[in-house]
């Protein structure tokens, strides 16, 4: 019964989020990683590259399903999900891994629309009891409607 409750979240989609790809945000992101790649930093280098401008590193905006205070629209689904999971006995969440498919470059000035779906929830019986594996799929489209990337993030709930 409880697991059916958990599985009722499969296929739920968060309110799409619109992300503006700002130059300063790209540079801060690269700086936080310690990444000095000129494609992310240098405008002249970007102009002369095959992209024609500074681009965002792969994985930029990789995680829109996050904590309160940042991406509030999307965290509504997360908050509802986490609250229900805690109520049915899975209060702990562990970030287990990340998977990406990259299709097209993300340039400075692009506007991305990120759409997050709870793609799957599976039950695993482990040494420490029952665990849930939840996969969140986020699809990123640019302002031309082109799918630029898909991210899949795996969480373990126990």
């Amino acid at each position: 019964m409880l697991l059916e409750e958990a599985k009722s979240f499969i296929g739920k989609v968060a309110t799409p989020m619109v992300l503006e790809v700002e130059k300063g945000a790209i540079k801060k992101y690269a700086d936080a990683i310690g990444d000095e790649n000129l494609l992310f930093w240098d405008e002249e280098h970007g102009r002369n590259s095959r992209y024609g401008s500074i681009v965002a590193p792969p994985g930029f905006f990789g995680w829109p399903l996050k904590w309160k205070g940042t991406f509030v629209f999307i965290t509504r689904l997360r908050d509802e999900f986490m609250q229900r999971m805690a109520e049915i006995g899975f209060p702990r969440l562990l970030d287990a891994g990340m998977e990406y498919e990259f299709f097209s470059p993300i340039r400075v000035g692009d506007t991305l629309t990120a759409s997050l779906e709870i793609e799957s929830i599976t039950v695993k019986e482990g040494k420490r009891g029952t665990m849930l594996t939840c996969i969140n799929k986020t699809s990123y489209y640019n302002q031309f409607g082109v799918l630029v990337a898909i991210a899949r993030q795996t969480s373990f709930l126990s």
């Binding site: 945000a25 310690g34 590193p57 990789g62 205070g69």
Partner: protein, 157 residues
Amino acid sequence: MTRNQLYWEDVAEGAELPALAKTATTVMLVKWASVSGDFNPLHYDLPFAESQGIGKPIVHGQLKRAWLIQLMTDWIGDQGWLKKFSCQFRGMDYPLNMKSISEPEEDKVTHWCKGNVIAKRIENGEHLVDCEIWVEDEKGMHTTPGTATVILPSRQG
């Protein structure tokens, strides 16, 4: 940072990728919290980390993910394309504390990002290279294993 472009023909199966050194510090984790939006105090608040049974703050899994992506983009150069990427967060990693506003308590590398070429193939006209990649801690533990597939330019055009 401008390097010679890597071509598909330059890559041999079994070859090692140039390793990427990282020094994780508490300052680095605060910066990552800011750009990623992950403000879980587990990553910067010692009493909170202790209360969670972790002992001390740990490196964000998603920051290690970003390091591994840098390993790939550094290697493939401006003409390469990271097509697929995955990593799993298997083990905890710890940052160095700071002894001054700019210097960590020890001057050393805490983590290495590494990889090997597993296979080369041509599919739908794309010159692909499949790699296994990982983040390695000071004990040699692979805390964050993963895989990556890249498209490289070909000298044949």
